[in-house]
């Protein structure tokens, strides 16, 4: 009996050691690329060509960041990305929560029909080409609206908000109704303020989706320099210098040096594009875990 319990403890302990090691390794593998990118972005761009930057810059400089702030296309891209993130998130939040509220009302006769109509969109899609033709017929190509309109209502977001509203006490709506509030006022004055946690989650999803979107710019607005987004501009720069990294051997070193310092600049832009997300993300973490779970249970 005695030896068995010691055995068990020993087994427990070795299990813990292995478990913590595996997780620590996964954390390291996730984190390391970011550290590497950060180090390269702060390293002198000519020195970077020599390779061997791993954890910290060898020749620290802020020059790369100074350089990229003079790229005008990046500034336009930044402006458009901020705009689409703000507008897209705001409109998306309003529409998803409004629709979610009507679907949470058990006395609403069209509720069943709309729910099914909405849920079906999760399972099928017309496909890339028919959607493209539709956008063209609606004259949305080459406009800012195409960033916001097509993704306005997402079934997933609506159902997440609805299941949150379902969890709220109905008595609050009842008393508002007795006070003479109409359905819109109940939504706006009673429901919305109570939904803050779930709205924070959805706002995060929407904002990240808008900020990170690249394909719609590529497909619809690629030849409209005034409407291209930051991700699109970043991709163009990453792509144009990709050949550079493919021929990074000694023979091409001189050629590389003469070029406009690809790698470090690339990484500096990558950091600039990523940082806004890294800044807001830890604050919203406690919300989105709840939101994810809510959506999974209901949908």
């Amino acid at each position: 009996m005695f030896s068995k319990s010691i055995n068990l403890n020993w087994g427990e302990r070795s299990f813990n050691i292995i478990n913590y090691t595996v997780i620590a390794l996964m954390v390291a593998v996730t984190l390391y690329p970011f550290i590497n990118v950060l180090a390269i972005s702060f390293n002198d761009s000519i020195d970077t060509v020599r390779g061997g930057i791993y954890l910290w810059p060898r020749e620290f400089t802020l020059k790369n960041y100074n350089t990229i702030f003079s790229y005008t296309s990046l500034l336009t891209g930044f402006k458009i990305s901020v705009l689409r993130t703000l507008i897209g998130t705001l409109i998306g939040l309003m529409s998803a929560s409004m629709l979610a509220y009507t679907l949470s009302r058990t006395d609403f006769r069209s509720r069943k029909f709309i729910s099914v109509f909405l849920a079906l969109t999760m399972y099928f899609s017309g496909g890339l080409v028919p959607i493209y033709i539709l956008m063209r017929d609606l004259h949305l190509i080459g406009t800012f609206a195409i960033y916001v309109l097509p993704g306005l209502v997402s079934a997933f977001n609506v159902f997440v908000i609805r299941s949150y509203i379902d969890g709220l006490p109905y008595a609050l709506q009842e008393s508002a109704k007795l006070d003479g509030a109409n359905d819109f006022q109940i939504y706006y004055k009673v429901i919305l303020p109570l939904c803050k946690p779930v709205l924070a989650t959805i706002a995060l999803f929407l904002a990240v989706g808008q900020w990170n979107a690249w394909f719609d710019t590529y497909l619809y607005n690629g030849n409209k320099p005034s409407l291209t987004t930051l991700q699109y501009e970043l991709q163009k720069i990453l792509d144009s210098t990709q050949q550079g990294s493919a021929m990074n051997n000694a023979n091409d070193l001189a050629k590389q040096m003469a070029q406009v310092s690809p790698e470090s600049i690339k990484m500096a832009i990558t950091i600039v594009v990523t940082v806004p997300i890294l800044v807001v993300y830890p604050f919203l973490q406690r919300y989105f875990v709840g939101g994810m779970t809510l959506g999974a249970v209901k949908s």
């Binding site: 970011f34 990118v37 409004m98 990558t270």
Partner: protein
């Protein structure tokens, strides 16, 4: 409209003889705010999600953008015949399925494993830090991830240097230029980006398992591995099943952005997926009908896969989404 009584009066009247029509309109009036708050979105859904289905008619035409619908020439299944006789189509289908299946396997096993391991961590600060960091890449765009992956896998990148330092290889490998590496690179990038995020759902399913089960197992002498295998895994079985059915439905729609961003002309035989194939034909060189046929094939097969998976699991595992 003239005969429409005010909402207040009809609400109280429950006379059976009252016309159905009248009651209908009274209901509309009573629900006018709810309708105003939902009908615009129903119309919106109709336009942006349902109207493209109508666009499938193009697959049976020789669609010319300048002509109206009635002027289009109908060609029956000609576009599909061309499609099914196209050698490239099978190549593209192979790539799509290969990357999807790899993604499906890796996208389930690794997050489940990660969630189970994370659940066994007793130190809360360690657990929280691990979660915060592993969720992070989910929020980074594919453009950035593709940039990072390309940089890591370049000739003098970290991966090559590490492999040389470990004496696994002697010459750096041109990962991004070798086509047989492509599927692995896409799957690996996906694992790096989404493992932490996908583990959230499994982790929260695990917290729903009755703690007493573990206590009982411990009394019976079950070790940690036995507990994971006999309690944790069966406890999250239905979560796994439901997510799996949904994923099977998306087997052909497993994204194209990452393939587009990570691919290049050297690896195109392994990187091209159905959506990109449709994009190249349907939009870039304006063969709209042919592109639509590809898109339609993709969507129809997806729906069929979803129903098949749902039916299969309903019958054999008593789990379903519908």
């Amino acid at each position: 409209m003239k005969t429409l009584p005010s909402a207040g009066t009809t609400q109280n009247v429950d006379v059976p003889g009252l016309k159905k029509k009248q009651r209908f309109w009274a209901g509309i009036v009573r629900e006018k705010y709810l309708l105003l708050m939902s009908i615009p979105f129903v119309l919106w859904l109709f336009v942006f999600n349902y109207l493209p289905i109508w666009g499938w008619t193009m697959a049976f035409q020789n669609y010319k953008p300048a002509k109206s619908f009635s002027e289009q020439k109908w060609v029956g299944f000609d576009q599909f015949k061309t499609l099914f006789h196209d050698h490239d189509f099978y190549l593209v289908l192979r790539n799509t399925l290969a990357m999807s299946v790899l993604g499906l396997i890796a996208g389930f096993t690794i997050p489940i494993l990660f969630a189970i391991l994370l659940n066994e961590v007793k130190s809360m600060p360690f657990k929280r830090v691990a979660q915060t960091i592993t969720y992070l890449p989910h929020f980074v765009s594919w453009v950035v991830v593709a940039g990072i992956v390309t940089s890591m896998l370049s000739l003098d990148g970290v991966v090559n240097n590490l492999l040389i330092w470990l004496h696994i290889i002697h010459e750096p490998i041109q990962f991004m230029a070798k086509e047989h590496w492509f599927w692995g690179i896409v799957t690996g990038s996906d694992i790096w980006k989404e493992t932490g995020w996908n583990a959230i759902i499994f982790l929260s399913a695990i917290t729903g398992i009755d703690k007493e089960l573990y206590e009982a197992a411990k009394v019976d002498g079950a070790g940690r591995f036995r507990q994971m295998w006999n309690i944790t895994l069966p406890g999250i079985r239905s979560t796994i099943m439901v997510l799996f059915i949904l994923s099977v439905g998306h087997l052909l729609n497993n994204g194209y952005e990452k393939q587009l961003l990570l691919g290049n002309s050297l690896v195109v035989d392994y990187s091209q997926v159905l959506d990109l194939y449709a994009l190249n034909y349907g939009i870039k060189i304006a063969h709209f009908s042919y592109g639509t046929a590809i898109s339609m094939f993709n969507s129809v097969v997806s729906i069929l896969l979803l129903f098949t998976a749902n039916g299969f699991f309903k019958k054999f595992a008593k789990e379903s989404i519908m």
